[in-house]
């Protein structure tokens, strides 16, 4: 329970950053924090007390062992790569905006009307 709450807290710090921060790179950082929190949450829910990594090895042989849940791990792998893609795209946008406006500050980047 406590670990879940801490993971959600990490997620909320990211959310707070998105609402409050006014710097493009800080906003990217906030989004990344949210992604980390979600990946962490997925890994936490897949854990089973006393479970082993879900890999059949020679030493284990045919003995039945308790494995941790492989499905959330597979989902996290996908989520990590998706996160990498979105982050890279965001960073490239931030760099381009910097080239145009010479600042990362959202308040100075306001060409669009309300």
């Amino acid at each position: 329970m406590i670990v879940y709450v801490l993971a959600i807290l990490l997620f909320l710090i990211g959310l707070y950053g998105i609402v409050v921060k006014r710097n493009l790179i800080k906003i990217v950082i906030s989004l990344m924090i949210m992604e980390y929190a979600i990946n962490l949450f997925f890994a936490l829910i897949g854990y089973r007390e006393g479970g082993a990594a879900p890999i059949h090895t020679e030493e284990l042989g045919d003995n039945m062992v308790l494995f941790v849940d492989p499905l959330p791990q597979a989902l996290v792998l996908t989520a990590i790569v998706i996160g990498l893609g979105t982050t890279a795209l965001l960073v490239s946008f931030a760099v381009r905006i910097y080239e145009k406006y010479d600042t990362f500050d959202v308040r100075k980047i306001r060409k669009l009307r309300g």
Partner: protein, 147 residues
């Protein structure tokens, strides 16, 4: 971007082949041990990144254009797509693991698990190309230069 000192160059010269080999190993054994196409592909991209950082972009750039990072990316993902559609063509299912159904191999050996190792290879090529392309475009190229 300028290169670094001679020490860095020498050490990276020593390291790059072994990282590259490790990447290939991780890709090929993805269905047996931890790792797989993604991890291996990123390792391979990482060793190109190391080369660029150590030697500077100017020296590597002419080579880079030949490698065509984005080309290898498209090729890799197209191979993966092809493996997926192969199952469909065989009259059964999208992503059907035909090879494993015909010739399952012995679990635990390198040649087992059907299309999984092949998929890993395709993904490895794709990821290596993709990440290197991202690095080059974001960190090295100046505005307006083409990959």
């Amino acid at each position: 971007m300028k290169g670094m000192t001679l020490i860095v160059k020498q050490i990276s010269q020593l390291m790059v082949p072994s990282i590259f080999l490790l990447g290939i190993y991780v890709i090929l054994h993805g269905h047996l041990t931890p790792g797989g196409g993604f991890a291996g592909g990123i390792l391979i991209a990482g060793c190109f990144v190391l080369l660029v950082l150590a030697y500077g972009s100017d020296e590597v750039k002419s080579e880079v254009r030949k490698w065509r990072a984005s080309f290898s990316e498209s090729l890799g993902i197209f191979m993966f797509w092809f493996l997926a559609v192969l199952g469909l063509v065989q009259g059964s299912y999208f992503f059907y693991n035909i090879i494993a159904k015909i010739n399952p191999g012995h679990p635990g050996q390198l040649f087992s698990a059907g299309i999984i190792p092949l998929c890993n290879m395709a993904i490895g090529i794709e990821v290596a190309g993709a990440l290197f392309a991202i690095f080059i475009t974001l960190a090295v190229l100046k505005a307006g230069e083409k990959l």
